[in-house]
Symmetry: C4
Subunit: 248 residues, 4 copies
């Protein structure tokens, strides 16, 4: 089943933005649920996000098998994506990244909590998944569905789960949403580290988090997306993921 | 009433400078009081500051109604600007931003105070406005005149008020002034955070703050503005806001 | 004995990448073991890594004598490289750098330990060499074989040794490996500093370090190398160091 | 008395390098002693260092009077330079800057000391001048010879003096020397702040400082200068200040 060119271009753009905004370096990846085959997903071959182009995009089954590899190597940790799509029908896009702000929280158990409205979507209760709890000494990489499902269970219905010594996973309803939440998760982490050094921190209350999320409109994502496209050297287009997921 | 092209171009330049100097990202905005209709103000449509151009500039009434929207969407928080212009006849330009330095102060109650002459204008007593005090659980966004007037009352006769979990508002007599005060407010915050980690901090005394402000000349703003224009890829022009505000 | 052009170009690329990624500034250097004369090595003349080109590359004997100086000045600290190649037949590439992350560890004795998989290769036990221990008050520069052999003895069979007040040495089996280990050593140091400020840090266990290193494939190096070449403005080529070191 | 074009171009280059390396922003300045009239000095008109060109360079008497202003405005703090040249016949170049690393030290009294060889020239005993001690509440700006001579007396025979709440002055025997010492002073300050957070810091000993300075050759300055020229978009030329100062 063919996927619309606009959607593939948007996935390329998401890769380039995440690289340009220092959320990923040579590692980390972003995917979208296949618009026509809900238990498949689309993601680049194993390549640094700032290098990828449409020809690098591959289709995977829920369990991470490439539908048509054509000699291309897949990311070793693609299973993260499949397990999240499997458990969360509401999720249409997933990012796995190691942005610098989140790692100190993941290795210390210090709770990461939103202190600015733009990070409200991470929620008041960001869990940390530790691969050792169920799998003992590993490379920490999520290289099979068992690990990925365990991580997805920790994520639960939330937007973000940290991964101890590794990074995090961010899940959401669109590419724009997971990219924005990734960027502001990282910023919130940086600001929270600085705030802890100054004194007792006032975080957003549960009511404030709810109020932010209830009033957030598409324009919030669009305003950021237009700027990020410009910075990443990508055209800013109409939103292909807008509306219900139609076959394309 | 038409506004001189130079003034509009200067407002575009202010937007681009604030973006280039990392004071705003995709969010935050800057306005000027309308030179011919003192209870109106001029500001971009809702767009990331580094993307805007003259065609994005709109005119608003004091209460935030667009005079001629022509299909353009306004910033949700434009009310901040109107309330400050209403309460402060001396103010001709306003910035609302979330620069990274100020947020840790706003969420901890640590007093932000000037420790370098270039930040003297923030004053010895920077207040923090907390939306919860009068409005309870909100999105923290200042989306109506009631909230904006409450914020303006906290600002009072000062140059800067922090906003808990959100950012700050900077008010002044010209675009050059509010941009310079925004940049050095942020720098002062960064330096103050580092200084606290080293020991007891000596801030500028009240007398030193006064001495700085009494001797500050236009050339201070011009020297910075020329450099910022160059960095932002904008022409450096004569000052359209120089002298009394004439109809144009 | 002539060296293949591809190998020399790769050494130039390593210099440019280390500069672009802020691992070296005007100082620091990278070498490779001579592919045909195992006790010789190849390194640039004394020049900032981001400026060098193939014509700057020189051949040195184990003791740091230039084989054909042709008027070019050698790095004063080239002896570090010779001593490591002498003691470690497994080492084919060496970097000496002063990246900002590592210096605070070297001057405080705080143990630097891997907390992310990409830094696993630094090992659980990174030693610090202090020139004063055996040589008293010096310029800290390793300007002779005696100092260099003392440093190499501290390095032992490890990948990294810190140098008090100075920087570090990174040794490995290929240019891609020492560059990647240099970059992630520095990142790990930055993250560890931030993590210590938040609380008790969980590092990779010995078993996790082993698991990472056992499963690391060439593709890890390649994915980073392609991106770094792009950022450094260098072509990304096939790996000349792949396979056994053949005469060329 | 005319000054050689190469010397003026080198002064322009020093301005551009200091800007490119984030030692100065819109403020701060660098001067050289006049090669033919030892109690005069050469410095730009009041302009951000990254904007200046040869036509901006002016000649000043020891007391800060412009020899031929031609309508150009001088830096308000030029007196710093005159007072240092007056008291220190060995000094041929001076920088006044507010680099971010040094300010937290100046406002806390935490001693700034060299912990890397490249910062050895700042010496084991960096004094801090506080304008209030002799002059009470001022703008902190050194706008007359009385303040400047007081600052120069604090500097004494040293290379660097911090200025409380303001920045520092760096004096030396050549432009290359004061630029390098400015850059590594700032880096040392950043590293020292990070090191203090990790534990007890080992600084360079007096003997190590001496050893570094005794063995420092011109090539150290040249290696950095070539790279900085490239980064600042300036040609890298032979050293016009090399050798005894001849009339030109």
């Amino acid at each position: 089943m063919k996927v619309a060119k606009e959607l593939l271009e948007e996935l390329v753009t998401a890769n380039r933005i995440l690289a340009r905004e220092d959320i990923v370096d040579s590692f980390g990846h972003v995917s979208i649920r296949h618009p026509g085959i809900p238990d498949h997903y689309l993601m680049s071959r194993a390549r640094a996000p700032e290098c990828i182009d449409v020809d690098d995009l591959m289709e995977f089954t829920r369990d991470g098998a490439a539908v048509d590899a054509a000699g291309r190597k897949a990311y070793a940790e693609r299973f993260i994506h499949g397990a999240v799509y499997e458990m969360r029908p509401d999720v249409l896009a997933v990012v796995h990244h190691h942005s610098h702000g989140v790692i100190p929280f993941g290795v210390t158990g210090m709770a990461l909590r939103p202190l600015i409205p733009l990070a409200a979507a991470i929620g008041a209760d960001v869990p940390t998944w530790d691969s050792r709890t169920s799998f003992g000494d590993t490379s920490l990489l999520v290289t099979n569905m068992a690990m990925a499902r365990d991580l997805a269970a920790t994520l639960g219905t939330r937007t973000v789960a940290l991964m101890r010594g590794h990074g995090c996973v961010v899940a959401g309803g669109s590419l724009r949403e997971v990219v924005l939440n990734s960027v502001y998760l990282n910023l919130n982490a940086d600001l929270q580290m600085q705030a802890h050094a100054l004194g007792e921190v006032t975080f957003l209350s549960q009511g404030e988090i709810r109020a932010v999320l209830e009033t957030r409109g598409a324009f919030t994502y669009e305003r950021a997306w237009e700027r990020w496209c410009r910075r990443a050297g990508r055209p800013y287009d109409v939103r292909p993921m807008e509306g219900p997921l139609a076959d394309v």
